[in-house]
Symmetry: C2
Subunit: 246 residues, 2 copies
């Protein structure tokens, strides 16, 4: 069974500070946990109800490094950040940062994306379109926040997440740097790029001037309606759908 | 000042039942409230701090039908569904349903969209691309939920929201009916439509068979990555960006 000390240890992962100190994060819910167990990511704990383990426990055989913690449903609720963790929660290791930032390949550069749901959905978009690198500015939400992990639907297992000041990265990424701008070219007439870096700006302030200054190509999503703007995750999806080769 | 009875009346609007009974909904936060006051929508109450009213109260002059309720910040927090309502909350009238469903015009048909954030973002997308009608299936989330209103960023003021069984609507809408399908045509090669109806399916189950049977054109968002699917609001944005004339 799960001990009090383990409950305390896991609950600390709900905060960014706790995750950073432990180097661990939560991935919650039946579907997500099965996906995590099917991957090669390093797992510290698998906490699950006896019932869940009876049906799915065999999946944990691929992860001899994981400690299995059979848990009562009420204990699972105590360690989970979700109201209903649906039988299982995994505590996995945050991958070590890559020694170098990516070069000459498709990347997303996120300039202070603050909403965890948006960040997770952007990771899911990258995963769909095969963009393997996301560079988060220091002001972007913590990518290992459980809400980000939930919204990304498995993207954390396939998309590499980096953290860097964006101007530093953008000057050395080796690709055209694209940004959305009302003054840009209609996205429907844009070409696709075998490698490029797309900047996505903050939900209310857009792209900051020092980051925007690094862009070499401006594109625009035409809208004939009256809305002031699109959601950042939706905008990133529309731009990727046109700019990444199919 | 705001009375206890008014606090109680407004708090009931947090639930779908309460909104239906009263025919009212909440629009919360400084930016949203200023947008609502700038519109012609009928407003029952404007609840705001004295400080907010001093700066913005003049906006309420366009709304002689509204009762102004000066509120202490703690009262505002009690009536708001947001942690920080940012000075002001509006209680507005839910528009009466249109006598007839739209015909021969651009529409979105939502087949059991369950997440309020997704629904709000889809309304925002429609607002951006100038799609003026959304038809919600009976199983779709309540469009007047405060989370939907927040995510739509003003879309409720411009996009007309209808409720209908979708097969009934789709058989009489008078336009081509489009749906996303893995077997469809690459969306990047699709034509744009002066009028069409686009079906958006449920977050996990997609489009139900009886609704899918009404589709006349299938389109596909190509992805070369490993993700299982895109978020429903992102997918709707990508499809609209290609299908609605700019």
């Amino acid at each position: 069974m799960i001990s009090r000390a383990q409950v305390k240890e896991i609950r600390e992962l709900a905060s960014s500070k706790g995750r950073e100190a432990a180097g661990l994060y939560l991935a919650e819910g039946d579907k997500i946990v099965r996906e995590w167990l099917g991957s090669k990511t390093r797992i510290r704990y698998l906490a699950a109800t006896e019932e869940w383990l009876q049906t799915n426990g065999v999946l944990a055989e691929q992860h001899p490094e994981a400690t299995i913690l059979p848990a009562r449903p009420e204990d699972l609720e105590r360690i989970s950040t979700q109201k209903n963790p649906n039988g299982a929660v995994v505590i996995a290791e945050i991958p070590a940062p890559a020694a170098e930032l990516p070069r000459n390949t498709w990347c997303l550069a996120l300039d202070t994306i603050q909403d965890p749901g948006n960040l997770g959905t952007i990771i899911r978009n990258a995963d769909w379109f095969g963009v393997q690198h996301i560079i988060c500015s220091p002001g972007t939400a913590d990518a290992w926040n459980p809400k980000v992990v939930a919204a990304a639907m498995g993207g954390h297992l396939r998309v590499q997440l980096h953290r860097s000041e964006l101007p530093v990265f953008l000057r050395s990424c080796g690709t055209p740097v694209l940004a959305a701008s009302l003054k840009g070219q209609d996205i429907r007439e844009a070409i696709s790029y075998t490698a490029a870096t797309l900047i996505i700006g903050n939900e209310s302030k857009g792209i900051s001037p020092e980051v925007a200054a690094c862009a070499s190509v401006l594109v625009r999503i035409p809208g004939r309606g009256a809305a002031e703007s699109l959601n950042a995750a939706v905008a990133s999806g529309i731009l990727l759908s046109m700019l990444v080769p199919g």
